[in-house]
């Protein structure tokens, strides 16, 4: 196998707060290859956004990337890189697209100015060049009459247009990797379709790798080639996208897929994952999913499951990998009855 573009090894990001240490990301490892789209999926609090921010070292105090973490990118370890060298990478080799296009843009500067700023920071050309380049990028993302739009302020654009501006900003320096953190969550479904279409289109054109972070299994299925499922600050399952959707192994992945109503299926009743995500300051011992898991047994309480390999490029952090027969005997009904488990 060739050298991956980005290799994250044993990444841990903890927040040292007054109420305790929040282990938001706890020993996460993955690789992203050239021109690949890796999806990270999970619910709020699973650590997916903190993972994304950690790669660019955008974690603010009291958060900290713990010693022992490695983020290898183009032959450098981003964890130990100096500040100015890190700034050289941000927006240049790795760029990021955020969830809320309105708040991610500075309200008092024109959008053209903000896109051009990337060029001014990393480029060698004049201000004029940066501006012209910014207008080109706005045009590339399908913004009509980009010269005029560039002179407008964020509040004068619609939500979809603003997200295009953020994409233009991310593409300015033709980065090797784009991290998209819930890029369509704040958008309406028809606009989401436009933006996802644009992203996949641009990726084909430019050959950029994408790290797509989302809570929406639909978005993952449509964009990613490989998927990580995160729960409790850990990767609980990873596989190629088709394998994952056809053959989910981890009870959390399985539960998530069956909890989601789908436009293509008739489902009499949605499966329910009981309870809520525990706070990151107090993950349960052993398997972090055990008190919501329909299969959990003693071993799950005592032994923190490793990431078992269960197939080709398919891993799952669940003891069922070694005791598969237990799957036949869930102690919770897979479709919950209200009041039954009080």
């Amino acid at each position: 196998m060739t050298q991956p573009l980005l290799s994250v090894q044993n990444l841990s990001t903890y927040f040292h707060t007054e109420t305790g240490v929040a282990r938001s990301v706890d020993g996460v490892s993955f690789d992203i290859g050239e021109a690949e789209t890796l999806g990270i999926v999970g619910e709020s609090g699973c650590g997916k956004s903190v993972t994304a921010l950690s790669i660019l070292r955008l974690i603010q105090a009291p958060g900290r990337i713990e010693p022992g973490s490695r983020i290898e990118f183009e032959g450098k370890d981003l964890v130990t890189l100096g500040d100015s060298a890190m700034r050289e990478i941000r927006g240049n080799r790795i760029s990021m697209i955020f969830q809320e296009p309105m708040s991610a843009l500075n309200p008092v500067f024109t959008v053209g100015d903000q896109v051009a700023e990337v060029g001014r920071v990393h480029g060698t050309g004049s201000r004029r060049d940066a501006w012209n380049h910014a207008v080109e990028m706005l045009a590339l993302t399908g913004i009509p009459s980009p010269e005029e739009r560039a002179k407008q302020y964020p509040h004068q654009l619609s939500g979809g247009m603003r997200q295009r501006v953020l994409i233009a900003m991310a593409l300015m320096m033709k980065p090797a990797l784009i991290i998209a953190d819930e890029p369509t969550t704040a958008l309406d479904v028809t606009i989401q379709a436009q933006i996802l279409d644009l992203l996949t289109d641009l990726q084909k054109k430019l050959g950029t790798s994408i790290l797509m972070i989302t809570h929406d299994l639909g978005v993952i299925a449509e964009t990613a080639s490989r998927v990580l499922v995160m729960y409790g600050g850990e990767v609980v399952e990873e596989a190629d996208v088709r394998v994952l959707f056809a053959n989910a192994h981890h009870p959390y992945t399985e539960g998530l897929m069956n909890a989601m109503p789908q436009i293509t299926h008739e489902r009499e009743r949605l499966n329910v994952i009981p309870g809520t995500v525990p706070p990151p300051t107090a993950w349960p011992s052993g398997c972090r999913f055990r008190d919501r898991c329909p299969y959990a047994w003693e071993k799950c309480e005592k032994e923190h499951p490793p990431l078992y390999q269960i197939g080709e490029r398919h891993n799952s952090r669940c003891h069922l990998a070694v005791e598969p027969e237990r799957r036949a005997h869930p102690h919770l009904p897979l479709v919950e009855q209200v009041g039954a488990t009080l």
């Binding site: 007054e18 109420t19 009981p274 309870g275 525990p278 706070p279 008190d291 488990t341």
Partner: protein, 292 residues
């Protein structure tokens, strides 16, 4: 084990515990007690009668000593005793005036925010007008004319001119609350306007009111001192922090202690109130933490 398993929000994040953990709050509270307790126990701990002029010649403006830790004033009165008694008065004036203005401000602001249509608009216009009167100049004009008004009226006027800012704040809060879903939810349940107001709106405006009251007391102490310094506040021979400073103002260069100690008393007390108000604000509304 169902959806109700863990309580997600740590209890440690509540306003009370935030306040208790804050070191400056503790310091300010201690300072305040240290200032206020002697003042309110004035007759018990004051070394001399604050109005006594034992020896107008021999004891005139004597520097601090064991007998007179803060020195004496031009009338041979003991400055420490006057600062203690003056503090009792200054604090009382400030507290009563603040109670008056907080009551008025809350009532007016709530009414202005809760009324709809024309009534609300009129109340708002009146408030705008009141907000553009410079309080000190108005007070100077009033007290210059009503120079012999008793202390009680002095306090009332201070209260009556001090509520506009709070009224604006409360009005803003009430307007914001009116749009909140829980108020809509109460309406949808069939709650009457009065019930919505007293059960859902009012209980949620207390935090800015408490903060404003704390900061307001400090402000009134300074204001009272200023007016007394100008000779139109608390009148001689009654001591207040402001008029003690005035007693020494002509001889500041030579007999600094007369004005210095009451001034320090004001600074420490007011600072304690300001720090306390600020911590309250931080604890109650972590997003807004600026004194107004």
């Amino acid at each position: 084990m169902n959806s109700d398993t863990p309580i997600v929000i740590p209890r440690g994040w509540t306003a009370r515990s935030r306040l208790i953990r804050d070191r400056s709050t503790i310091l300010a509270s201690c300072l305040l007690l240290a200032m206020a307790i002697p003042c309110f126990l004035a007759p018990l701990i004051s070394p001399y009668d604050p109005a006594a002029q034992p020896d107008i010649v021999g004891l005139q403006s004597v520097a601090p000593s064991f007998a007179h830790p803060f020195g004496t004033d031009p009338f041979s009165r003991d400055v420490l005793s006057r600062v203690i008694y003056g503090g009792r008065l200054s604090l009382t004036v400030a507290i009563i005036a603040t109670i008056v203005s907080v009551t008025l401000g809350t009532a007016y602001g709530a009414a202005a925010g809760y009324s709809n249509g024309i009534a609300g608009a009129i109340l708002q216009r009146i408030l705008d007008a009141l907000l553009s009167i410079p309080r000190l100049l108005l007070l100077i004009a009033i007290f210059a004319a009503w120079r012999d008004a008793p202390l009680f009226y002095f306090i009332l006027v201070l209260g009556f001119t001090g509520w506009y800012g709070l009224a604006r704040l409360v009005r803003g809060q009430v307007l914001a609350l009116k749009g909140r879903d829980f108020v809509q939810s109460a309406r949808a349940l069939g709650a009457s306007r009065a019930r919505i107001f007293f059960r859902h709106v009012l209980p949620n405006v207390w935090s800015p009111v408490i903060v404003a009251a704390t900061l307001g007391i400090g402000h009134v102490i300074v204001l009272e001192a200023g007016l007394s310094y100008l000779g139109i506040g608390v009148r001689q021979p009654t001591a207040s922090w402001g008029n003690i400073i005035q007693d020494g103002s002509d001889q500041m260069a030579t007999h600094w202690w007369i004005s210095f100690f009451p001034g320090m008393a004001i600074v420490l007390t007011v600072m304690a109130f300001n720090v306390l108000g600020d911590s309250l604000l931080k604890a109650l509304e972590p997003r807004r933490s600026v004194m107004e």
